[in-house]
Symmetry: C2
Subunit: 482 residues, 2 copies
Amino acid sequence: MCQGNDVNCPEFRLHYRMFKEELNVERRSFLKSSFAAGGGAAALAAGGLSLVTPALAQASAAKRPGAPAYHYLPANADTVHWGYFSKKLKPQVEIDPGDIVTIETLTHHAGDDLERMVTGDEGAESVFLWTKDKKGVDRRGAGPTDPKVYKKGSGEGMGVHIMTGPVYVRGAEPGDILEVRILDCAPRPSANPEFKGKSFGSNAAANWGFHYNDMLDGAKREVVTIYEVDATGGRSWAQAVYNFKWVPQVDPFGVMHETIDYPGVPVDHSKTQRNYDALKGVRLPIRPHFGTLGLAPAEADYVDTVPPSYTGGNIDNWRIGKGAVMYYPVSVEGALLSVGDPHASQGDSELCGTAIECSLTGTFQLVLHKKADLAGTPLEELNYPMLETKDEWLVHGFSVSNYLAELGADAQSEIYKKSSVDSALRDAFRKMRHFLMTTKGLTEDEAISLMSIGVDFGVTQVVDGNWGCHAIVKKDIFAARV
Amino acid sequence: MCQGNDVNCPEFRLHYRMFKEELNVERRSFLKSSFAAGGGAAALAAGGLSLVTPALAQASAAKRPGAPAYHYLPANADTVHWGYFSKKLKPQVEIDPGDIVTIETLTHHAGDDLERMVTGDEGAESVFLWTKDKKGVDRRGAGPTDPKVYKKGSGEGMGVHIMTGPVYVRGAEPGDILEVRILDCAPRPSANPEFKGKSFGSNAAANWGFHYNDMLDGAKREVVTIYEVDATGGRSWAQAVYNFKWVPQVDPFGVMHETIDYPGVPVDHSKTQRNYDALKGVRLPIRPHFGTLGLAPAEADYVDTVPPSYTGGNIDNWRIGKGAVMYYPVSVEGALLSVGDPHASQGDSELCGTAIECSLTGTFQLVLHKKADLAGTPLEELNYPMLETKDEWLVHGFSVSNYLAELGADAQSEIYKKSSVDSALRDAFRKMRHFLMTTKGLTEDEAISLMSIGVDFGVTQVVDGNWGCHAIVKKDIFAARV
């Protein structure tokens, strides 16, 4: 049986009801756990080690209209937007703060193997539909939509991720903080009976990868590896099925794609050579997570999903999975949360340009913290996306912290000229300093000493234009601090 | 009682004998463990997950003259060299391959609090001795030793670490690989009765720190924080004792040090203001390790200890502690291993310029692998320092991989102009690619895909001129590979 997360399952409705019931239990235990409790006794017992103080949790809970409601947002051609965030988008679901919503997400790399990742999957089929006469989702990217202007396709592939949403959170306004609790996150089973019980993902070593101009033979090539992931939960690892070198593909509208330059181009495998010997015996631990999760920014109408920014988006940190909590500054009315770019696994750096890009279904609880209640709490002044796990707090530094505001009218192209780990590390340092001073009341000198001996800086990604460094501090460092 | 690692203990000889006996047991269990076994059955049982193949282990063991001997190298003015590696140095101890040697190391920051880190400690006192007439160790750094030329002091502080050694490994020649197993690593207890059972370390937020030109008020200041570390093994965390702002210090020879610009200057605390409220209630997990561990390079006679390079040195990776194994390419006859820069704890990046700089005593087994035996093994072609832990393999990338060879005659000053995480990441990528292709026989395309989804890239340090990025791959990824 499916886990209530496979809309193609004949008994989906029954399974989904069972899932919701289980979720109630899980949710209660989740709320009892210390890290995301945000609620009185539990948080106190853990030494107040949540970013949400008990007082703030009470204030935020008091504004809820009632008990949390459940919502389900499937992914199909009507519920996704492809390649951009936008404050102009019509919400797909409106929820009250505190509500729980299950959101299906589709990988934009499913076209690399339609048979395994699309065939038989009604939602995915509607999104990937592309014949010479019809395209399920025409616009892909924040670029031009005028056929007289674009060259590769509508939206020009300036932004690539299939985003489900947005979710409108009632009462959310600029200056508030949206807390996003990831209650669950699981691979989407293949709907093709031939691949029952399995999920699949694609890893493209692509032209935007860090390695691309640095191959041993000096040649340039793009190589796609298809990975198999267990969808039943029985195995914790992925393994390669085959790989192939990208060869020029003509899309159904007749446009030639010499490289991977537009998302969702259906790969014609009669033109590729599939190598089924790839990575034999290699087992990659899976770390299911959402590469792109965030809110619509106010700065522009259509924003390329590739570069991450202060409202989150394509942070590509593999720690943003089940059990994690993200905090985002709300930039527009209703917050407008969208989710996409699901990954089965990724390493710090996402070196070759992509992760194991694999459709996932997530369940989220969205808690709103109003600006007026933030004063004196750790969330005051939070103007960057923060991650909280059971044991750690993480800040995310970028080459340019808020590139839309800082780089002028051409920000969305300029950012690709600013890619640098050095500047992302600088930003991560400044954010971690701010966090330690704000959250734990350290002096600047204390924060700097602590950062050198108790904070780990890592490379989040070097492939999203606005490159990222993260800084990790363990919560228990502060367990004895009054 | 001491652990046989405190030369100031009145019963040191007895305790050392007991320690050696324990070590025999520990060593046997260490050798039985899979990761460093390098010896037949154990390595095979773990799927061959050591860099040392059973055949290589046999070949290397066959060249040992007999059972491993023990050696003890204390740290004192006669056994240390300060601030440089050098192929010209007379060995402090000569050993056979496979021998075990316990080496005391002293932090070069002990002058920040002589009372806690030097007083009563015969070895440390001999090293830190500095009156107007006498200096225990005159030369500190690879710089000029002519009083008519230097400004700050002999060696000019071009290199700062107190290095114990070198250890000469009989039979070691350029092209061989030296495997350094860290069997033990423990804090050196304070010899001052007032601080019995405690060790101390210093963290200097110094002028070479990443933060230094980026303070909130735009001012420049250096701040030293003294940390206390439990020396009995009962506690796994460090805590701050006090901090102070560096104020100009006149050394015993009359030279004024406006900033921290020469190692071992005894701090006169009648001129500082000590703040005992620093980091109250903050507990930093300790990760004892050696910041600087490596071999003398062939490229120059005197080499600044600060920038790490292909023979190791100041890698500043906190994972180089107990249970870890390092592999270094041998560059000169006898290998000439030196150890120093002991740390109680450090985060990835060593942001402010130093770790918790804290004297440690380490026990090492040095295994030699001859060039002629390396063909076809994972250690073939290894021309960079590699780290193996129980579960992981790590490569270390630097801004310039072998700066002594690549940057010409002025390499030792030029390297400080090349500091960059971006280029260190490039180097780490290339080394990890090489490692995966050499060790596991992956194709370049397989290696690149794996690096994006199963390798984590982190920032090792951004304060040693030749900045570092490391790449971590988990061994069990390959457990099922034939």
